[in-house]
């Protein structure tokens, strides 16, 4: 363990803050002037009807999109432009709505790919599998095996992921994100397309990751039951605007949120 330094964010402090962010594609305004924060150690849900700008928001946070206005403050540093590479290096990992895995590679190799930024030994030694490079490979392999155990996917570690059923693909994708040992984990609809049992498994993994590793999690989810059970705080978007922000109980009672979900008589 290393000694805590000034840069570390204590539990409960703001880890990431979105400040007045606006994003548009041509004439379509995907996000309008949204601000919210994610605190260290919490599970933060982003909810909203289809087309509310939730996925766009995740893409802004991990640098796929650059907002036209506004800033992202992460670990106290403010950036208006952050490339995905920098985000990953800074400790932001994510999964995707429609699963983005390396289809031709095995589950094990997919998760190993998550360690890319953590491996530093020279190419030459890696090719010879010798000395420090071999030790490094073994060490990372051990970390990856721990993740595989944690997610109960031992039996599929050598299977090319393209052949796996959807639920397991989602689990491998989570494993790859965990292999990065992120400070902030972004999950884009982790339970989409799953049956009840799979949803329960995934919910347990999300809670375990949060509690055992202390990983801060921001997740997008449609299943309200899941959101209300898992999350500490919820931010609600509609048509790119933020319409509510608070604990699950507060948000549930909010008239604007009820109208957005159930429709309102005009």
């Amino acid at each position: 363990m290393r000694a805590p330094s000034e840069k570390d964010v204590a539990a409960g402090d703001v880890l990431l803050a979105v400040e007045d962010v606006s994003l548009s594609f041509g004439g379509i305004k995907a996000i309008r002037d949204v601000s919210f924060d994610i605190r260290k150690g919490e599970i933060r849900a982003i909810i909203g009807p289809n087309g509310a700008g939730k996925t766009s928001m995740l893409n802004v946070i991990n640098g796929f999109y650059t907002p036209q206005q506004g800033r992202i403050r992460f670990k106290g540093k403010t950036r208006s432009k952050m490339r995905p590479y920098d985000a990953a290096r800074g400790g932001i990992a994510r999964t995707f709505q429609n699963v983005a895995l390396f289809r031709g590679m095995t589950a094990l190799d997919n998760i190993m790919a998550g360690r890319t930024l953590k491996m530093h030994r020279g190419l030459f030694w890696q090719m010879l599998r010798f000395g420090p490079a071999l030790r490094e490979e073994v060490e990372h392999r051990r970390a990856v095996e721990e993740i595989i155990d944690f997610l109960h996917i031992e039996h599929i570690r050598k299977t090319p992921v393209g052949r796996l059923p959807y639920g397991l693909q989602k689990r491998v994708e989570l494993g790859r994100a965990l292999a990065m040992e992120p400070d902030l984990l972004l999950l884009d609809e982790p339970m989409a397309g799953m049956n009840l049992e799979e949803k329960e498994d995934m919910s347990r993994f999300v809670l375990d990751v949060n509690q055992h590793f202390g990983t801060t999690i921001a997740l997008i989810e449609h299943d309200m039951g899941v959101v209300m059970d898992l999350s500490d705080r919820v931010v609600v978007l509609e048509y790119g605007r933020k319409i509510a922000d608070g604990t699950p109980d507060e948000v549930k009672k909010d008239q604007g949120v009820i109208d957005a979900y159930l429709g309102v008589a005009h």
Binding site: Y85, F96, A100, F102, D109, A113, M127
Partner: protein, 318 residues
């Protein structure tokens, strides 16, 4: 009946009657095949990492060879010229990434494919302006590549092995082994395969697309240089050589676009098939089989095994 005899029986009788000639034909085919494999390897590298069929691979080979010969003609010592050519290929890779790939990121593959056409004609023009259009001789001696041949007395005759061919086979084998280990066992190799499968997922785990593309185009440039030296030593260094690169197409169809071992085996099958076909069956059809037999073999493969011998099975969920 006579024609059937000539097609089905006579060629094999000839093989049996003059085994030394048969072995000689096999060897020639093997060497040609290994050189096809090298070209195909250049394609496979870029296809694996960016999903693009790089039409410019042939001209990259010519350009590398021309640079080497041209520098030497200006009085640069051979091995310094070789090192400088490697640097030129690196600069080329960085230039391609900056000016062609980066602006076209996330475009459909066909757009990138067309961009490699543009690159081809750009390199042809650039090569002609700098080095002139006339064929040149490869600096075989200056690079200490061997000349002459070994003769092996066997089968009641003799088989001749050109030393340059032996060198080509050895160099190709070493390169192939090195590349296979590089792809399978290293962090960057894993990153390369990752980029080939999904750009956005690769970005999300912190793989830098820019860096990967430079590495892969540079590697393809090195392969092109080696191929250019070997082909150049067998004929001349001229722009006509890039047509040879098209022979890599049937090799790739046979071996699979994503497989390094496939490129090797495919190359050897095509090379040997061509030479044996030309020598034993060629006279029946009027010679010239060599120029089209490879494509016919590829066509048959497309009908029965479209992913090639070693390619990844295409499984799509519907």
């Amino acid at each position: 009946m006579d024609i059937l005899y000539k097609i089905l029986i006579d060629p094999f009788l000839q093989m049996g009657q003059a085994p030394d000639l048969f072995v000689q034909t096999l060897w020639e085919g093997l060497v040609a095949g290994v050189l096809y494999s090298l070209i195909a390897l250049g394609f496979v590298l870029i296809f694996k990492a960016s999903g693009v069929f790089n039409f410019a691979q042939g001209i990259m080979m010519v350009f590398a060879a021309l640079t080497l010969v041209g520098l030497h003609a200006k009085g640069v010592p051979a091995f310094l010229a070789l090192a400088l050519t490697v640097v030129v290929m690196l600069v080329l890779a960085i230039g391609i990434e900056r000016l062609v790939l980066r602006p076209l990121v996330n475009q459909p593959d066909i757009i990138l494919f067309m961009a490699t056409f543009g690159l081809t004609y750009f390199l042809i023009g650039l090569g002609e302006v700098i080095f002139g259009g006339e064929p040149k001789t490869m600096i075989t001696d200056a690079l200490y590549l061997p000349r002459g041949s070994y003769e092996w007395k066997a089968f009641g005759g003799f088989v001749a092995f050109q030393k340059i061919d032996i060198a080509a086979v050895i160099i190709a084998s070493v390169m192939v082994a090195g590349l296979a280990v590089f792809f399978q066992k290293t962090r960057i190799g894993r990153a390369l395969r990752a980029v080939a499968d999904s750009h956005k997922a690769a970005l999300s785990v912190g793989i830098s697309l820019e860096q990967i593309w430079v590495i892969v185009w540079f590697t393809a440039g090195i392969v092109a240089l080696a191929t250019g030296i070997m082909w150049g030593a067998r004929s001349d260094v001229s722009f006509a050589l890039q047509i040879l690169a098209l022979k890599a197409l049937p090799v790739l169809i046979l071996g699979g676009f994503t497989s390094i071992p496939g490129a090797i085996v495919g190359g050897v099958i095509i090379g040997v098939g061509e030479k044996v076909g030309e020598f034993y069956w060629g006279p029946l059809l009027g010679s010239g089989i060599e120029s089209w037999l490879a494509y016919v073999i590829a066509l048959v493969f497309l009908l029965f095994r479209p992913q090639g011998l070693f390619g990844e099975r295409i499984i799509e969920r519907i």
